[in-house]
Amino acid sequence: MYATSYHRASSVEDAVKLKSANEEGRYLSGGMTLIATMKQRLAAPSDLIDLRHIPAIRGIRIEGRKVTIGAATPHADVAASRELAAICPAICKLAGHIGDPHVRHMGTIGGSIANNDPAADYPAGLLGLGATVVTDRRSISADDFFTGLFETALEEGEMVTSVTFEAPEKAGYAKFNNPASRFAMTGVFAAKTAGGIRVAVTGAGASGVFRHPGFEQALASNWSPDALSNVAVDASNLMADMHANAEYRANLVKVMAKRAVASAG
């Protein structure tokens, strides 16, 4: 790892100030991607601004059916929240299958979505729920937030502070793990929300997480796994790698979508 300078932010304002004073710096949340990337010398930030010690952006708040998850909340906390499981078990299940138990104790929701790995789980969850990403300066809908491979709508120095969403009427998540990395070879989040049916796919799209309008239309008229049987999945925009070609992923997208709907009940 190249040399770096560590700063521990005490508040959101403090963090943003530290970031603007260190242009080549990076925000550091759980570090489960960033530290690994630095060890491989694929990233070499001059400064690291640690966000784990800002109490205001940690924890889960539920008011009625409105859920707010602080950006520095670890996956393990989301997975284990009984309050959240009572109104949106699918997001708890999603969080509980990220990486492994040790990774879930460190990795955070804010870090995961800001990184927007095309095989990460949370982008599918947020896009499927129609969530809103709140930053130090504005609110961004999930539809606008995820813009491409490791790309988001975040501006230079902008920091995710929380994620909010309305608990859906029904939701399910199904993922086909890469057995070595535990990333999604394909993961599908399907939800019946107040704003309509939303189906989001991760791990498969050549440009990262995406919604599947064909699935959404089919489920709008009939919320059942069978409704998806005759919907075509276009393989032309899907990822292909040593683990799975695009046609195989297209099949996985449909199978995972059916399982997601089945698990939502």
Binding site: K39, D100, V103
Partner: protein, 162 residues
């Protein structure tokens, strides 16, 4: 150089290190606690698992400066005076190791799992709990057996204490 202070196995310990120093290297080289192992160095194998503020973490993927101020338990901190921790005893009894390289991480993981979900572990939940730990010798069977036995033992002694 930055001064890092940790409470390790009940004792306050300090050392100077670069900001880029990994926690596992700090623990092994600065504090001299070499029970925590470096296996893969890529967050896959779990040989470096320790507890930080009561939760299992991979110390090869955390900077020592990130951990500063926290409370750490390493494999050296588990056993009581001259007596193995029930999980250590169960690994010995059920032959839950062969070469032993992964064992510190396996034991720390098992203790964390029992802390979180103890009393009703099953083979399935134990295997899921070991997702982040790799053993190249045992095929896992005896590790799972040992953890289930330790869980039953700990649950039993808790009940007896109540």
């Amino acid at each position: 150089m930055t001064k890092v202070t940790l409470t390790v196995n009940g004792r306050t310990m300090s050392g100077e290190c670069e900001d880029r120093t990994l926690l596992v290297h700090f623990i092994r080289e600065k504090l001299g606690l070499t029970g925590t192992h470096v296996g893969c160095d890529t967050t896959q194998c779990g040989a470096c698992v320790i507890h930080m503020d009561g939760h299992s973490v991979k110390s090869c993927s955390i900077l020592a400066v990130q951990a500063s101020g926290s409370t750490i338990t390493t494999i050296e901190g588990l056993a009581g005076q001259g007596e193995l921790h029930p999980v250590q005893a169960a690994f010995k009894e059920h032959h839950g190791l062969q070469c032993g390289f992964c064992t510190p991480g396996m034991v720390m993981t098992a203790v964390d799992l029992i802390n979180r979900e103890g009393g009703h572990l099953t083979e399935e939940t134990v295997r899921a709990g070991l997702e982040g730990n790799i053993c190249r010798c045992t095929g896992y069977h005896n590790i799972v057996k040992a953890i289930l036995a330790a869980d039953a033992e700990i649950a039993g002694s808790r009940q007896a204490a109540e």
